[in-house]
């Protein structure tokens, strides 16, 4: 996917000026949050489970090589194939080669952020293969030619009218005057359209929430059952996934599953949790003819051993973005690449470079809400700060900001000079603004006073007033 992360500011401005998007974001704001809280209230051991989930992933990441090789051996012994892909280009070519060998004309797809990351759909289309998204949200944005704006709710940026309009434009096979005002009517229409696609598809592609070393299985969670139809009805099931999804045992996956859905949608469990191990066996009633896993690195192994390793614990629940006030204000597309919100602010610079994605770790108030809700206890603000440090070291941060910090630091390191300058500033601003109480315009504060006033200082600094009132109360 082509990044527009470098244009974050422009993207955000456009998003804030888009009333439909703002309406959609307003709808989103409360549902996820209340449901998550209710689910957690019903599970007193939730925080203890978060600790265990964190420890499981930390252990797996410390022994990534061991578990990946053990997992691969199990996949092979179950009759499956593992394809190691260094980058997006390799991953796309591996998928295409499998599809071409099977003469695939259409592929169905379960929801996969890795498929977004490697921009699989446009590549398949360019090679004459038709990809059909089968997750309702993904299907909606596919027919609208958009990208996901949220990692678990890809169409969260839309309101219902827009979906109705798109269905009427695309589903021309149906009566033009049919009613499409109830969510149920929209769902049923999509379901009917997709049913035929499932049956016609040659290859099914899904992602994976977990890879299990103990059994060589991949696990997906869905609420629509589309993943199961995608992967069981076809000649081949291709799992596109990335290497940090590995966990040692099924029990470990089960532990993490207990925090995943609760954090994501406030469900105790997703409606479907599907475990896949190898292709269809001779006595199986159904299942794919072949089972392939395309295991993507794409920069992740470079994060190991760095201050960003903890990010690889992420299980893509979306809680950080659900709770992020910046995400709620600008929406997911403003972030400009596959992963939005706080997790994207850390992951995107790791995967596509901080030169391109430098805005993202800066576009946070460090309010800390993301870290407080993360089921894997990922210290997201701390890692965003690490990116800011790298930007500062490499002189990537804007010159005006660097100059401002340098001038401020010069003073802050010289308390007597600082005292003199702050005293003068307080005097002058106090004199100028006291009658009005606040400034509508202030030099060097143009951004601030665009939409708010700047309250006036009281006129004398605390330190001067203190020295005057309590000459012996100051200790140097």
């Amino acid at each position: 996917m082509q990044s527009t992360s470098h244009s974050f500011k422009d993207n955000a401005r456009a998003a804030m000026a888009n009333p439909t998007l703002q309406r959609a974001m307003g709808n989103m704001r409360h549902g996820f949050l209340a449901k998550r809280l209710a689910a957690i209230d019903r599970l007193p051991e939730f925080d203890a489970l978060r600790d265990r989930a964190r420890d499981i992933k930390n252990h797996a990441l410390e022994h990534l090589d061991v578990y990946l090789e053990a997992w691969e051996a199990k996949v092979v012994s179950a009759g499956g194939h593992v394809h190691w892909a260094r980058d997006a280009e390799e991953a796309r070519r591996i998928v295409l080669a499998i599809c071409q060998r099977l003469d695939a004309r259409t592929v169905t797809k379960g929801k996969s952020m890795i498929a977004e990351e490697i921009a699989l759909n446009p590549f398949l289309e360019a090679n004459g293969i038709v990809p059909v998204e089968t997750d309702l949200g993904e299907y909606i944005i596919q027919i609208r030619n958009e990208s996901p704006s949220h990692i678990i709710a890809p169409a969260i940026h839309l309101v219902q009218d827009q979906i109705e309009q798109s269905f009427r434009e695309i589903h021309t096979q149906f009566d033009r005057d049919r009613p499409l005002v109830e969510p149920r009517q929209l769902v049923d229409e999509a379901r009917g359209v997709l049913r035929d696609k499932f049956i016609a598809a040659d290859v099914g592609i899904t992602g994976a929430n977990f890879l299990v070393a103990e059994t060589g299985s991949s696990i997906i969670v869905t609420n629509e059952g589309n993943g199961d139809l995608t992967q069981t009805l076809t000649k081949a099931h291709i799992v596109v996934t990335s290497l940090e999804k590995i966990v040692p045992t099924l029990e470990d996956a089960q532990t993490i599953l207990r925090v995943l859905a609760r954090s994501a949608t406030g469900q105790e469990y997703s409606v479907y949790t599907t475990v896949s191990t190898g292709p269809r066996r001779p006595n199986d009633l159904d299942g794919p003819g072949e089972y392939h896993v395309v295991l993507l690195d794409n920069g992740r192994s470079r994060m190991l051993g760095t201050e960003f390793q903890d990010m690889l614990r992420c299980i893509r629940c979306g809680a950080c973005m659900n709770h992020c006030p910046v995400y709620a204000t600008v929406g997911g597309h403003a972030y400009g690449w596959v992963y939005p919100g706080p997790m994207g602010a850390v992951l995107t610079p790791s995967l596509i470079g901080v030169d391109e994605a430098g805005h993202l770790p800066n576009a946070s108030t460090f309010c800390g809400k993301c870290e407080s809700v993360c089921p894997m206890r990922i210290p997201l603000p701390k890692m965003m700060r690490h990116w800011r440090e790298r930007e500062f070291e490499r002189h990537l941060s804007p010159a005006a900001m660097r100059w401002g910090i340098a001038a401020w630091a010069f003073l802050a390191k010289r308390p007597k000079l600082y005292r003199w300058v702050s005293g003068l500033t307080a005097n002058v601003l106090g004199l100028l603004g006291r009658a009005h109480g606040s400034f509508r315009n202030l030099p060097l504060a143009g951004g601030w006073t665009l939409g708010r006033d700047m309250p006036t200082p009281q006129g004398e600094t605390f330190h001067r007033a203190w020295a005057r009132r309590r000459p012996r109360g100051t200790h140097s």
Binding site: A12, M16, F366, C367, K369, W387, A409, A426, R452
Partner: protein, 273 residues
């Protein structure tokens, strides 16, 4: 930490160094004096070390680790020898308490000093309640207030119940809860400079919620949030009075509220509103 643990081990009249914060120093010294009054009222002996400027957050959060370290060392030196360091800000408090030791992770001696320093640092209101055991204040306030939980105080220092507990003891004050009190106001330190439009939209959401409560006063424990919220309310013509919680708890109401014109304040005092 529970209040009994820290109360048991503390001196009866501890020596407390006030970390004023750069925003209180420049914008609102009355908050510093209110803090001194509250601390002295709780039995503390208060000093104000002269060699303090800022906690270093602007550098720390801009990725300028070297400057942040230099300022942190300066602060640790200036505040050596006191029983406690108290800050009328959750944001600066979080910096001193949480982040200084991380800045010196590569230097065992400095990390130990920073760790010891961090343990002695407290946000003002939680210090009064949790360490000094204050459960009520002798203040009066005529009005209905709502309270915004500043992010760092809330999430780094667990400041939540303490201000509400003390406000409940203020005669005449009615406290009404703010929906979304824990949602960031959009200040974010350098964030409001780097992304002013997003920051402005966030504070607009916050002030909309504040106005909807019908409260005549908005309180919080951090000057950054207070300047942001007061500036937005003023611009939009709302007459909600904005004050640091310490001012109300100390009964320090002589100065106009944040962003309030002197005449409006005098008029309000006169009519007793």
């Amino acid at each position: 930490m529970s209040s009994s643990d820290s109360a048991a081990s503390r001196p009866a009249n501890p020596r407390v160094a006030l970390f004023v914060t750069c925003l209180v120093d420049l914008f609102r010294p009355s908050v510093g004096f209110a803090a001194v009054k509250l601390l002295e009222g709780a039995g503390c002996r208060v000093a104000v070390p002269a060699l303090q400027t800022c906690c270093g957050q602007p550098a720390f959060n801009s990725g300028d680790r070297e400057t942040a370290r230099a300022i942190a060392r300066q602060v640790i030196d200036a505040f050596a020898g006191y029983d406690y360091v108290v800050v009328p800000s959750g944001s600066c408090g979080g910096m001193l308490h949480e982040h200084y030791s991380a800045l010196f992770a590569d230097d065992a001696d400095l990390a130990a000093r920073a760790g010891d320093f961090g343990k002695r640092c407290h946000e003002l209101i939680s210090f009064l309640v949790d360490v000094m055991g204050v459960s009520a204040v002798a203040a009066r306030y005529a009005g209905t207030a709502t309270y915004h939980d500043s992010c760092s105080g809330l999430r780094e220092l667990s400041v939540k119940a303490q201000p509400r507990r003390l406000l409940a003891s203020v005669a005449g004050l009615k406290l009404t809860e703010l929906p979304g009190a824990e949602v960031c106001c959009g200040f974010g330190g350098t964030f409001c400079v780097k992304y002013p439009e997003i920051s402005d939209r966030m504070v607009a959401d916050k002030t909309r919620d504040i106005v909807a409560t019908g409260a005549d006063t908005l309180l919080a424990g951090d000057m950054g949030c207070l300047l942001n919220i007061a500036g937005k309310l003023r611009r939009d013509g709302h007459r909600v009075r904005v004050r640091h919680v310490a001012e109300v708890l100390a009964g320090a109401l002589d100065e106009p509220a944040i962003g309030e014109p002197a005449t409006e304040h005098a008029q309000a005092r006169h009519t007793g509103v």
